[in-house]
């Protein structure tokens, strides 16, 4: 009886064991480290279509309305807040008050049924986040949300992964800005950011925690 396998099969078998292990390692790396950071999982940079074509690019970018006009509780509480229909009607009772695009807003105003905005940023429920703790210590909106004034539908600019939070909690001086600039969405960090950052850390008494119970409480 002739040999079933060619002698070369020996080395193929050896190689396939090594290659198999490598492939398994690669898959493990992909699944454990690359996939969770990919925008497929974090949904980073994915603009969500909203029930009303409300564009920050028009309201903030070209009209210069301040964030706090609509997100009123951002400097007072944990949540920034989504404006109620009444806030839209402050202006849209007169402006574009016949436009079909704004019909869902007027309907909500007539019936009292809230507009169902699609949530863009959504931390897992086991994470605690607080806006006022950040904006009152010199962390600007654009540091975490990017250039909202250039977005039509909003997307999530950063990964919102734990490593992202920690990067800043460990070295806040890299990101801090003067309190007067927190709401300036066009703010650019100066060349001497680190120097200024260290000074602001002292001045505002900024010591972000990295203990687990700060964010997981």
């Amino acid at each position: 009886m002739s040999q079933l396998f060619h002698p070369a099969a020996n080395s193929i078998a050896k190689i396939s064991v090594v290659a198999g292990a490598l492939a398994a390692g690669l898959v493990a790396i992909l699944v454990l480290f690359v996939l969770p950071r990919s925008s497929y999982v974090t949904r980073q940079h994915e603009a969500r279509v909203q029930p009303v074509p409300f564009y920050h690019a028009h309201h903030v970018g070209s009209m210069g309305i301040d964030c706090r006009y609509c997100h009123t509780s951002v400097d007072r509480s944990a949540v920034a807040g989504i404006p109620p229909t009444k806030t839209c009607m402050n202006c849209h009772s007169q402006i574009w008050n016949q436009a079909p695009t704004l019909e869902p807003v007027r309907e909500s105003w007539r019936t009292g049924q809230p507009i169902e905005w699609v949530k863009v940023h959504d931390l897992p429920d086991f994470v605690y986040f607080n806006h006022s703790a950040h904006v009152n210590k010199g962390v600007g909106c654009s540091t975490c949300h990017g250039r909202v004034d250039k977005m039509s539908f909003v997307w999530q600019e950063e990964s919102l992964l734990m490593e992202w939070c920690l990067e800043c909690h460990r070295q806040p001086e890299k990101f801090l800005r003067p309190k007067s600039e927190v709401y300036d969405i066009t703010y650019q960090a100066p060349a001497n950011q680190l120097e200024m950052g260290h000074q602001l850390v002292k001045e505002y008494d900024v010591y972000p925690q990295v203990t687990c119970s700060t964010c997981h409480r």
Partner: protein
């Protein structure tokens, strides 16, 4: 071999089962969440009419309505400090300047886009009205302007009123109020302004 492959597939499937998002999306309400229980879909419930939370009894009518005995109050019922004015300035710029403009002339961005033009703050009638009137307008609205009671808390409303008075003064201060040592500065800036307007660029 088949056994091994199927064992691996089974293992992966079991691992996949572990990837449920129960802790990410816990069955609890957070602010602005949707509720399937209430017909309007809101987990955040509106207050029952007439509710008074602890510590929010509005018994100081001057502070909370800007009126006392039916008349508008003439004095701001808070201590007017530099901090209050500073707060007033920032709140004015957020909530009022879109229509009334940064200087209160009624030429804000939204007016330029077609909103009704409000009267300038720099007219005699508004210079003479008591401060309580401004508070009342912010709290209850006036004509085409809706109220800002939900967006601006009471103390901030008074801060805005204090800043409004400052704005009015800034456009209408008698020269006699300028301290003697700053007079020269004023003269110089007035001359610069005249030159600017003479050159036809000004407005």
């Amino acid at each position: 071999m088949i056994l091994r492959v199927s064992a691996l597939v089974a293992l992966l499937a079991v691992a996949g089962l572990g990837c449920r998002q129960d802790m990410h999306d816990q069955p609890k309400y957070k602010p602005y969440r949707q509720s399937e229980f209430f017909t309007d879909g809101r987990a955040m419930r509106p207050l029952v009419a007439g509710t008074v939370a602890q510590g929010t009894l509005r018994d100081d009518t001057a502070l909370f309505t800007g009126k006392s005995g039916g008349d508008f109050v003439t004095e701001i019922p808070l201590a007017v400090t530099a901090d209050l004015l500073e707060r007033g300035r920032s709140e004015f710029q957020v909530f009022c300047s879109p229509c009334h403009g940064r200087t209160g002339k009624g030429d804000g961005m939204i007016v330029q886009r077609g909103f009704k033009r409000p009267t300038s703050y720099h007219v005699d009638r508004l210079r003479q009205t008591p401060v309580g009137y401004f508070f009342d307008v912010i709290t209850n609205g006036y004509g085409a302007m809706s109220d800002y009671a939900a967006q601006v808390p009471v103390e901030d409303r008074w801060a805005i009123v204090a800043y409004l008075r400052t704005l009015q003064l800034s456009q209408y201060a008698p020269a006699a109020d300028v301290p003697a040592d700053r007079k020269a500065e004023l003269e110089a800036s007035l001359q610069a302004l005249d030159a600017h307007e003479a050159a036809g660029e000004g407005h």
